[in-house]
């Protein structure tokens, strides 16, 4: 969030479980975060499970990135 305050586009990758915490931090810091939300957990996953997480989140990330860059 500090990065966004300095003008850097900084999407935050966060699991569902930690989403409320990140949102509260954002409110406290008066920033509107760009969030890429993935199912919890991430730690402890094997390779195939991790690939699933990446697959699930990639489209949203690319959309967000294009929008920030003004490509959409």
């Amino acid at each position: 969030m500090e990065l966004e305050k300095r003008g850097v586009v900084a999407p935050l990758v966060v699991t569902e479980t930690f989403l409320p915490l990140v949102q509260a931090q954002a409110r406290a810091r008066r920033v509107r975060p760009r969030l890429v939300v993935v199912p919890h957990p991430v730690g402890g996953l094997n390779e195939a499970e991790l690939a699933g997480r990446i697959e699930g989140a990639a489209a949203e990330l690319l959309r967000m990135a294009d929008e920030a860059r003004g490509l959409s």
Binding site: E2, L3, E4, K5, R6, G7, V8, V9, A10, P11, L12, V13, V14, T15, T17, F18, L19, L21, V22, R30, V36, V38, H40, P41, V42, G43, G44, L45, L50, A51, R53, I54, A57, A58, L61, L62, A65, A68, R69
Partner: protein, 387 residues
Amino acid sequence: MSTDWDVAVVGAGIAGLTAARVAADRGLRVVAYDRLTPGGQLVNLTALHDHPGGTGPELVSALTAAAEAAGVRIGYAEVTRVHPGSAVRLETGDGEVTAGVVVVAAGLGPGRLGLPAEEALVGRGISTCAGCDGPLFRGRAVAVVGEDEWTAEEALELAGWASAVTVLVPGPPRWSPERAERLAAAGTVEVLTGAAVTALRGEGVLSGVVVRTADGERDLPVAGLFPFVDRRGPEGLVDGLAADEHGRLVGAGNVLVAGDARAGAEQSLAAAEADGRAAGEAAVAALAATAGSLRIVDPTYGLPPEDDAGPVEAAGSTATWTDVALFTNSKPNATELLRGLGQRLQAHWELPELGFAAKESASVAADKDTIDWLSQRFKMVLVAVGD
């Protein structure tokens, strides 16, 4: 008595949202109904002259956000009937609900002249929203009919677009000296007092109006007509509640009235806001008086920190959209997840390479040097924050 809500507000304009927020701030369960989206008259105002809130829509956003942050639920439904009682019953588009106190802040209805063919020309020259339709009349002549504060405000708004604005005032003007001054200063605005519209001209689209003054009747060619006469309050909404000659209500018991809907309202944003605040406080007091209440010091209360710096531009950043980095919190698999996502972006944007940084530990804040480096060197940084 147990009710669905402590306070139900009818109309989510400046008065209603303010009343709702004040009551919710005091710990009450509050719903604010609006048949459209929140905002009321504000949505139509492009510039606010008696309020430091930016544009109308900006003020609406701020008021809505503040109300929701205080715990107000916005109800997207029309309230069609209110039945007073120790628990007030409200008929809404979403069914019936009960509340301990109701604040009616439904504002005023649209203006109407009561002339033949008027309804057929609404949207074809006749409008009641200068902010929405003003640009349609760029470089053309328009007339505004009315004598209240809104009339003056809308005429000033139209002066920004139209070639000429004639303000037709049936009786004595009721707007403030401050608005009178601004009208006089606007070169393209002419105010005609003692003027009534007796007929509409135009086949399918408005082309002019017939105006009667002490000097007789004459044709006034205009492309747009904005009537603000005979705007009625929400008379009949609440069983048994008295209304003045404009249909504006007089509150009684646990049904309170705020903003333009209230008999004797002053019609300014500042007044509506003050009215809303007073209604919110009155709702709190009314509930305390009827139900009895326990007063406590709010254990969740705190003040925002003082050093609330807004966004700052990265000093000396030369980064472009090819400068993208990953920033991991070093938790297990976080780096792998980021690299996977980063590869997709790299392919999507055909980036030669990605930068990379890691927090030493997920348990502590990022160190300032890393943040400095990332913000100077990169345009976009994908961050792993929580799992």
